[in-house]
């Protein structure tokens, strides 16, 4: 059986009176691109810093590459690349010197690959770190994380501050890492970027995992907002009983409803009447996520699927 690259058991971290994360159970398989989603303050960064042994769990355990994080963090760090959510590097060093320093801390890196990353992310390495814009500072952090071709990439809000063109480059780099069989663990509160990159997603809210599933399955959570306009009075009764229909509202010749799952039964029922207009809108995954997890309080263990 393959050892998960990341494995947590009831991982808990509390900061005195403040909540951190509560009983997080997570498995990330080798070669997987895994999205870690949640609103601000949900516990994403706390989970990540626990995986790095930057902070220690108050309960449960975390393993990376099968090694308990508190037992041998150096062995774990040797194989990972990390981009923190917030960081400030050394004002007096240039971008190039910063990359050199972090490369040296790893015993050296492939210079050609480092140069290629600098080129692809369009970073001017001759400027001092303090002179960089927010986006360029983020690029330095990304190259620090990527330049040694780590087996595991842990990226906390990686696209923050990057312009769309550089974001494209970033997604391409992540794609290449996946092709090379490396594992990516990426936190975000932007669902669309996780959707582009990842195959599986965990959703954390109020410190607890509320769902772990494939991106496809999350997409299945998506519903259609359907609007039908009839030439005569709206035959609301015919639609009320159909599978997946909810929130049905009828006004004169107009019916509005929410349809989860297949839409074919709606189409067939509508075709039996004189239909003037048919509008079906699919909300984005983000809207679905917000509808499902944006306001609902969590309780009980996460719903986990593979």
């Amino acid at each position: 059986m393959t050892v998960p690259v990341i494995h947590t058991e009831q991982l808990t971290k509390s900061y005195g009176e403040h909540r951190g994360i509560i009983e997080v159970d997570l498995d990330v398989q080798p070669g997987e691109a895994f999205g870690f989603l949640g609103p601000n303050g949900a516990g994403k960064t706390t989970t990540i810093r626990t995986l790095l042994d930057h902070i220690r769990p108050t309960g449960g355990k975390a393993f990376v590459f099968g090694i308990q994080t508190t037992a041998d963090p150096v062995a774990i760090h040797r194989r990972l690349g990390y981009l923190p959510g917030e960081f400030v590097l050394y004002d007096k060093l240039t971008g190039g010197q910063t990359l050199e320093y972090f490369a040296n801390l790893r015993g050296g890196v492939d210079q050609a690959y480092q140069a290629a990353l600098v080129d692809r992310l369009d970073l001017d390495p001759s400027r001092k770190y303090k002179e960089y814009s927010k986006g360029n500072k983020q690029k330095v952090g990304l190259i620090v994380a990527l330049q040694h071709r780590p087996d595991l990439l842990i990226l906390d809000e990686p696209t923050s501050g990057l312009d769309p063109l550089v974001q494209q480059q970033f997604f391409a780099l992540i794609g290449e890492a996946k092709v090379e069989g490396r594992t990516v663990f990426m936190s975000s509160h932007v669902l669309s970027e996780v959707e582009k990159t990842c195959t599986r997603v965990a959703i954390i809210r109020d410190g607890r995992l509320v769902r772990v599933d494939s991106v496809e399955a999350l997409r299945d959570m998506a519903h259609h907002q359907v609007e039908l306009r009839f030439a005569g009075p709206a035959p609301a009764a015919e639609f009320e009983g159909l599978p997946g229909v909810s929130e049905l509202v009828a006004e004169d010749g107009l019916i509005r409803m929410r349809v989860a799952g297949a839409i074919a039964p709606i189409v067939r029922a509508a075709a039996r009447h004189e239909l003037v207009d048919f509008v079906s809108r699919e909300p984005s995954l983000e809207e679905t996520f917000l509808a499902e997890y944006g306001t609902k309080k969590t309780a009980g263990p996460a719903e986990v699927a593979r």
Partner: protein, 557 residues
């Protein structure tokens, strides 16, 4: 899955030692300027002062006079100087006059370096990336501390060599020669005093963060210095004085030929233990997690949320209050010891005669007189450093980028330096009030005149305001990064001119440039109008120049 080994450029051995090849190497690289500054400055100072002493006191008669004067100083006044051992020789006089102050300079460097080396990086977030490298946290901490210790050793080596050169080049009379062993023992003592202070900060920083660790270590260093100095005059202080490295090494006076090597070993062992605590605490605790030490906090109603002036005042107020508490306590102890001073002056007609010639027409044998002799010089230095701290806080609005948001509100640009300046001045007023309260309590306890020294405390405020004015002008003209360092440099340069000017034979016109020369004797009610005007001009002019310049330049960070 990693890149092919053939393409990986390995780290050169040289860059592992100095440069960007390791945490240790980067620590050395980052410390190079401070090492040159401390080693070079103290080394040059020792050489220059030795040359000055020898040119002024080259005859046996002059040496006897020094010995007589120093030995006539009553213990209550000898507090801030060293023990008078063989002061008729070059080494003995050097250590008597400067031996007490130099460890403060090296200690301050060590505190700033070791408090910030991990906690500072941790606070800004860069340590998250360093700690994600395949290096254990223990190793990161050991390399950081080791880097500082090595650079400190280099600086001490420079000081040792300078002292040996001074002792050999300027020796004029028998006993003046400073053997290399004594010179390096002096340098070793200086280094260990610095390491003791720095290692305390290093041990505390993982628990309480950079600022608090530096504050506590600085307080212990300064407190130990004062307690050790006054323990002979005030025996009640002795039990506390011997709690710090100042008390432990009080009998180690190598330049005077008196050695106490065991005490150095104790300081070294304690320092190593503190460094080990710091390393372990850093390795075991959550990265960046620290507990704030409770300090003066303002109630919500005083947070100054209604406008820029109130906000600036409330931001600076706790700093002013903290400095005031420190200075007030010192003033309280000194003023409270005034009765002993008056008694000891009465017992030493020789010293009374010396004082009479130094302060003609002034009755120095009072509580105010004692404060003038002991408190005011130190108080002015502390006031200057307090002003630097307040100006640094003012400049942090711009350095942190907060000003970008503040000035996006419909507030005229000139309001920021003006309101910030008013906030700094308000904090200085708070500092003066608290200091004066301490002095008033002490003077009342000693049974002397209370009002004259209390009013004299205003000199501290005037000096601080002037220094703050200079800082704000520099911040407006050149940029926020230079504001506080300029005030620190000006304060310390002024202090050094006062301290070594006489021995160096500095021309009087240079001495007259120092603002502290024009402060009169405020603790005994003698004011110098030139100094008062100069302070007011510097405070108001600095604020005006800073405001004008700031409105015309780009925002910087």
């Amino acid at each position: 899955m990693t890149g092919s080994a053939a393409q990986v450029q390995s780290v050169s051995p040289l860059s592992r030692v100095f440069g960007l090849g390791s945490v240790f190497a980067k620590t050395l690289r980052d410390s190079r300027r401070a090492t040159l500054l401390v080693g070079g400055l103290v080394g040059l100072l020792v050489i220059a002062v030795s040359a000055g002493i020898m040119s002024q006191f080259s005859t046996p008669e002059a040496r006897d006079e020094i010995g007589n004067i120093v030995n006539a100083v009553p213990p209550i006044l000898a507090g801030l100087a060293g023990k008078p051992v063989n002061v008729e020789t070059l080494g003995g006089y050097l250590q008597y006059k400067y031996g007490g102050f130099l460890p403060l300079v090296t200690g301050l460097w060590s505190i700033m370096a070791l408090a910030g080396t991990l906690a500072g990086e941790s606070r800004r977030g860069s340590l998250d990336l360093v700690a994600a490298a395949p290096i254990s946290r223990r190793r990161v901490a050991v390399e950081k501390a080791g880097g500082h210790l090595l650079m400190l050793a280099v600086a001490m080596l420079v000081i040792g060599i300078s002292t040996a050169i001074a002792g050999s080049a300027f020796a004029a009379l028998p006993g003046d020669e400073i053997p290399p062993g004594a010179a390096f023992s002096f340098a070793l003592w200086l280094g260990l005093m610095a390491v003791a202070a720095g290692s305390l900060a290093f041990a505390l920083a993982p628990f309480v963060g950079r600022g608090s660790a530096a504050g506590v270590a600085g307080g212990v260093m300064l407190g130990g210095f004062l307690l050790n100095g006054y323990q002979e005059a005030i025996p009640q202080l002795a039990p506390f004085a011997n709690l710090t490295w100042w008390g432990w090494t009080a009998d180690h006076i190598p330049l005077a030929g008196q050695f106490d090597t065991v005490s150095l070993a104790i300081v070294a062992i304690v320092s190593l233990a503190l460094l080990a605590i710091g390393v372990e605490a850093f390795a075991r605790r959550d990265l960046g997690a620290s507990t704030a030490i409770p300090g003066p906090r303002l109630p919500r109603a005083m947070l100054g949320l209604r406008g820029p002036v109130g906000r600036a005042a409330s931001e600076r107020f706790p700093t002013g209050l903290s400095w005031g508490v420190g200075l007030g306590l010192f003033g309280l102890i000194i003023a409270g010891s005034g009765a002993s001073f008056i008694e000891q002056i009465g017992e030493s007609p020789e010293f009374e005669r010396v004082l009479g010639s130094l302060f003609p027409g002034i009755d120095i044998g009072t509580v105010g007189g004692f404060l003038q002799l002991v408190f005011i010089e130190f108080g002015l230095v502390m006031a200057g450093l307090a002003a630097a701290g307040l100006v640094g806080g003012w400049a942090s609005d711009e350095r942190s980028g907060r000003l970008e948001m503040l000035l996006s509100a419909p507030v005229a640009r000139r309001w920021w330096p003006l309101s910030g300046g008013v906030g700094v001045l308000a904090a200085i007023v708070a500092l003066v009030i608290v200091t004066a309260t301490g002095i008033a309590i002490g003077a009342a306890t000693a049974g002397g005149d209370v009002w004259t020294p209390v009013l004299g405390t205003a000199a501290i405020g005037l000096y601080a305001a002037a220094m703050a004015g200079v800082g704000i002008a520099v911040g407006g003209l050149i940029g926020p990064a230079f504001a506080a360092p300029t005030v620190v440099a000006l304060t310390l340069t002024t202090w050094l001119v006062d301290l070594v000017g006489g021995d160096l034979g500095i021309p009087d016109w240079i001495h007259q440039l120092a603002l502290s020369t024009h402060m009169g004797q405020p603790m005994v009610g003698v004011w110098d109008a030139t100094g008062i005007v100069a302070c007011l001009v510097l405070a108001a002019g600095g604020l005006a120049i800073g405001t004008l310049a700031f409105t015309r330049r780009d925002l910087r960070s």
